[in-house]
Symmetry: C2
Subunit: 212 residues, 2 copies
DNA sequence: TAGATTGTTAATCGATTAACAATC
DNA sequence: TAGATTGTTAATCGATTAACAATC
């Protein structure tokens, strides 16, 4: 039974499903039951069937799920074939790491440009991508509407950069700054945060309080 | 009423509490009520009082919470003053970004060393930290027991590296590889994952399906 | 056909929200 | 004292798990 409103708990599991199904697919597995997938992912079979049934019935009684088909369905649900585009704001260490090492294409995104203010960088290319001056962001976005902006800028310009992206019609911001963006004011824009510090502090708690 | 088993939902909110309290503290705010904090964080006052009451009663009726004290209590709960140490495995782009830019000290961790296999890097220093050869990891950990290992190695050596860390007594692994580590086999080790791809795919879903 | 496994409904569990007595 | 706000208990809501008829 398709649901209209998908809970964020389900959404956050989808990429993991995709990753596991992709591994199975590449390993040559043709079919898998919810219980086998559950076991390898550390979930319950019930949960997997519930999660998938939010989007449709992809399995077959007595058989299970066809790995290739389910992988493709999950990719479709995640929007991996929508031709999303992305640009990177801030070509410091982290920005460069993403430009040179993150597999945007494999995840359905085309990296079109990076922006920075450093005169040494502007005008050069990195990993096949041109580095433009931040001052040209608005005109670039006017000519090249882009789905997502990646924020790898210094914290002090994070909010300002987010506003500029939002006002130019970007639909998503992938925020690597440790700053909480004013999401309510960034209308029409979805924000996904990668807060390194929050993540490390969670680990700090776990190793401080709870022995495994 | 102190609870013995804290849910992971609460734990994941603690770093955000810390961040907001730290901002308030630096901004000179002396006291804050649960409802004021809730408003600025987008939570409910009830939830904040419930969360904090897992660890003790830090407020005062009719007054609210003393910002400096609550900030210190949350820092304590998170284990920020335990003298945790950290080393980085893999000094590629991402490893370097963390070494040079991530404020380990501010988050209660002391970065003691980085490890890599590149002859060009081994023996040099980066951001004040020595880069050692991966072959010397075990002997280093024998002489310098370390709390946490950061995995910024290539995916193909991620599991092997995690096992080596685990067998040398590390208590936490901060995993930046897009590989699912065999946590059950890493006994005594807590794993915190930063899966860039999962995060981007979540954003991909949000901009594909749900208009804000 | 018999066995396996789905999709879905019902039951349980846990987390969030509401309410309020206690008290600063 | 009166007003404000906590900590905690109770109510609600939502997510996970269990059960099972449907069916390949």
């Amino acid at each position: 039974m398709r649901k209209e409103k998908i809970s964020s708990a389900v959404i956050r599991r989808l990429p993991r499903y995709y990753r596991h199904l992709d591994d199975l697919y590449r390993g040559g597995t043709v079919r898998i039951s919810s219980s086998a997938l559950a076991k390898s992912m550390g979930l319950t079979a019930s949960q997997i069937r519930q999660d998938l049934s939010c989007f449709g019935g992809f399995g077959q009684q007595g058989y299970g799920y066809n790995v290739e088909r389910l992988r493709a369905e999950v990719a479709e649900i995640l929007g991996m074939h929508r031709g999303h585009t992305v640009l990177i704001l801030g070509a410091g260490n982290l920005g460069r790491a993403l430009i040179e090492n993150f597999p945007f294409a494999i995840n359905g995104f085309r990296l079109v440009a990076a922006f920075d203010v450093s005169p040494a960088l502007v005008g050069t290319r990195l990993g096949g991508v041109p580095i433009c001056h931040m001052d040209t962001l608005e005109s670039f976005l006017r000519d090249n509407p882009t789905s997502v902006g990646v924020l790898t800028v210094p914290a002090r310009v994070a909010v300002e950069s987010a506003r500029r992206l939002a006002s130019c019609g970007v639909t998503g911001i992938w925020n690597f700054t440790n700053v909480e963006l004013p999401e309510r004011e960034l209308s029409g824009v979805r924000v996904e945060n990668v807060h390194f510090a929050d993540s490390l502090l969670t680990l700090s708690y776990m190793i401080s309080e709870e022995p495994v």
